[in-house]
Symmetry: C2
Subunit: 289 residues, 2 copies
């Protein structure tokens, strides 16, 4: 399959969906500067990896890409909020992202904090309104997805990983112990949200508990492999520690391949309908930018 | 009724519930410093006005106080996150709250941003796991409550009100126009979350759409009246503009009474079971600290 075309088509679907959601609709309009700060990194945004994986995961269990849209959009909103807060002067202090100024540079720090907050809240608003109609099984699936996304965004996953990342004093130390620590940070800071995209998309596409359990392991391993790939492309510009710095590029690349192979093996028997999910995972881990 | 005893008893219920929720449980534990930063303002916390209103609203429509606990806890988590972020140097730059240091003073700015983020995510995790069993009507009610809480926390309400509050350049101006602007800020920044507590508690207590519509108006007016009462107690220490500064204390107090009377009139015919809700509203607006 043509994975670039798949990404372009599915990415355009989520772009249109996100553009319609921000500014959020409500009785009161959101202040204009806040709307602009919320849109700054969201539209046109990045490569939409997590939303596309959500749609591919829905297809992998026999659902439609459209069924995954609420969680695809919600995960991208959470991802964008986390980038804005991570860039803040008190955290990574980054002034540039994707070739432009970060939100606190383009606006100010208060707006960067508040736009991030608003995007995080919007993720749950978008997801909860994604239950079309009141069919009970669908409502239950959406509610379970809310819980899983909230956990992935929270203190035991995304935020906790970030806190431990900031607390790592050095990227040198007894090799295996440090490697375990850093991989645990990657699992929480990066892989948890990517996993929530995959399991959320699959759940909204009708997955059963057995499939979800497989996809949780799949997402965790693909997520760490993706983070290694990202750090390989980013060498010299990293914030903090990474498996690339701990292992060196060659061993890190090998670790990413092992994780990817293991993940692909988990869904080897899922047939043709899982091919987009496999291809998206391969392309995320093996991309050269 | 003895409203102080009611507050103490219901407040203790929510205290126990919150203490069991933070640290959040998950496969990975949350980092210890993050747990401590999350608990700093949450436990023992404030007067638990919003959770107690949620429980009283459940009782007002014939539900139990316990039915409202998931939303009572979630709203208090959102309230606490918003205090932590509002106190940040780039927003209100407050170093003290409730007689102790604010989170960014007791820990650091990064942890204050991240603890706030984690509390906001935890609110939705707690709420979504509040559906005991999978009875369809209950699941639907919880999901609707997720959406309403997310909207109350978002760009058209809490965050938007905060952005407009920061953008208000001065607390002087043509009286009526400024008063309308400031009341609109109070409605979004304070009253929206208080309303979400009331409607959420009532919904989990089994309220119908007609009751919820009444409680939306009730909560909006009580919320603004409560904000005026809060600002009356805080004179000299305010951040930003308030109806107390625009109107002067006497006229502001009169406005709070008008709003409270109107709100109480809306639920006048609801009988004895709504008495705790009426008493909590009266006590919130008329308290002398």
């Amino acid at each position: 399959m043509d994975v670039a075309a798949y990404f372009a088509e599915r990415g355009a679907l989520v772009d249109r969906h996100l553009a319609a959601l921000v500014p959020p609709r409500g009785e009161a309009a959101a202040p204009r500067t806040l709307q602009a700060a919320m849109r700054h990194l969201l539209l046109p945004g990045g490569k939409r990896l997590r939303p596309v994986l959500a749609m591919a995961a829905s297809e992998a269990v026999g659902g439609t890409p459209e069924a995954a849209l609420p969680v695809a959009a919600a995960v991208e909103l959470v991802h964008t909020y986390s980038l804005i807060h991570d860039d803040l002067p008190c955290i990574d202090d980054d002034t540039e992202r994707r070739g432009g100024p970060t939100v606190h540079v383009a606006f100010d720090e208060a707006l960067a904090v508040l736009a991030g907050d608003a995007l995080l809240a919007l993720a749950f608003e978008v997801l909860s309104s994604g239950a079309s109609g009141s069919a009970a099984p669908e409502t239950e699936r959406v509610l379970a997805t809310v819980g899983e996304l909230a956990a992935a965004a929270g203190a035991t996953a995304l935020v906790g990983g970030q806190v431990d990342d900031l607390a790592l004093e050095s990227c040198a130390g007894p090799g295996d112990e440090l490697a375990e620590q850093v991989e645990s940070i990657h699992r929480r800071k990066s892989a948890a949200l990517l996993t929530a995209a995959i399991t959320g998309g699959a759940r909204l596409g009708g997955a059963g508990e057995t499939e979800l359990e497989v996809l949780r392991r799949f997402g965790g391993d693909v997520g760490v492999a993706f983070q290694i790939a990202d750090d390989l492309l980013d060498q010299g510009n990293e914030d903090g520690c990474s498996l690339v710095r701990v292992f060196g590029p060659e061993r890190a690349r090998a670790r990413a391949e092992v994780l990817l192979d293991g993940a692909l093996g988990l869904i080897e028997a899922w047939g043709d309908r899982a091919e987009p999910l496999r291809e998206c995972a391969r392309s995320a881990v093996r991309r050269s930018r």
